[in-house]
Symmetry: C2
Subunit: 197 residues, 2 copies
């Protein structure tokens, strides 16, 4: 019979970046802390998969259907930001500088991992475009091999539909110093340099 | 209404060393992973405070009473290793070089935090000594101000009972190099130097 503390250490060890030492430290922290902390976390974990659904329009995670962003009439319906994951929606929302809507692909193309277009929410995006409405797709997939390949694939697929396709700019991060920048970012920044006004 | 994912991020953020960014990363990891991982963790957290009790003899955490170590007749009953926390028992057990029993104080003296002898399991240790049996107490509290003060206090309290009182040795960790050692450890190692045979 495994003790509750060993069971907890084992379960915590499944989290990314949490080894046995950290799991042990966290478990004993929880044991010493008030019951409320463990109880809140336990409840939140139980609810996670039970209460969260995918929005029938944008495929983002939501409790309501359609989600709050898709049913918000103040947000521009003709502008769609296409992202890989729900966490990317959170990241873009934090900038407070996007007033359009989203489409969450739930991944990126990755032939090596056997992930093709049918594994992503591409069909759902196609439906939205066929219904009319969207006039611009901002491809905000990650700036890595998979993200770039996905953006390239989507642009080839959707261009014929007469919709404007854009990609997030690549370059030096705000506050970034050239000295510490990796070579590929710097190369992109040079390549995509723009006229100063 | 807070969304399940925000609730989880908030709950994870209560863990030591987990800020908002890490909590967000962990929450989305759990969302993408199989339900089983969240469910196991949720169950383990629920059981933690419900199933764990303190052993009536050594005050270590346990499911049975007395705990498995206290009821193991093969372990020497006259040798008691006194530690601050249940996690210290785990640490000593891992060495496989201690065959006595334990006593867990659940803390160390710390007048600044208002922690006095009555807040620790000192009375319980006194009872064990009065019952006879224990002949040596190894004071294995931490090697810091609070741990040293606690060891000093306990040694003054229990010496008159005619029991042998020892303290863990301080010195250079195995594999440690002098160059990288802090001054106080090196000073202790010098002070407690021993004859070579």
């Amino acid at each position: 019979m495994t003790s509750p503390i060993d069971k907890l250490i084992y379960a915590l060890g499944k989290l990314p970046g949490v080894g046995e030492r950290t799991a042990t430290r966290l478990a004993f922290f929880l044991l010493k802390s008030s019951k409320q902390i463990s109880r809140d976390l336990s409840e939140a974990l139980k609810d996670l998969h039970e209460k969260i659904k995918l929005c029938q329009v944008c495929c983002n995670i939501t409790q309501e259907n359609p989600c709050r962003i898709c049913s918000d009439t103040r947000r521009e319906a003709h502008l769609i930001c296409v992202v890989e994951e729900p966490s990317d929606v959170t990241a873009v929302e934090k900038t407070s500088s996007f007033r359009g809507r989203y489409h969450v692909l739930h991944g990126a193309l990755s032939p090596l991992d056997g992930i093709g277009p049918d594994d992503l929410k591409v069909k759902e995006l196609l439906e939205r475009l066929k219904d009319g409405g969207p006039k611009e797709l901002i491809l905000a997939t990650n700036s890595n091999v998979e993200g770039d390949a996905t953006a390239f694939y989507l642009s080839r697929l959707f261009k014929p539909l007469g919709v404007r396709i854009t990609r997030l700019a690549s370059g030096i991060p705000v506050g970034g110093e050239l000295e510490y920048l990796d070579a590929s970012t710097l190369a992109k920044a040079l390549e995509q340099r723009r006229e100063m006004s």
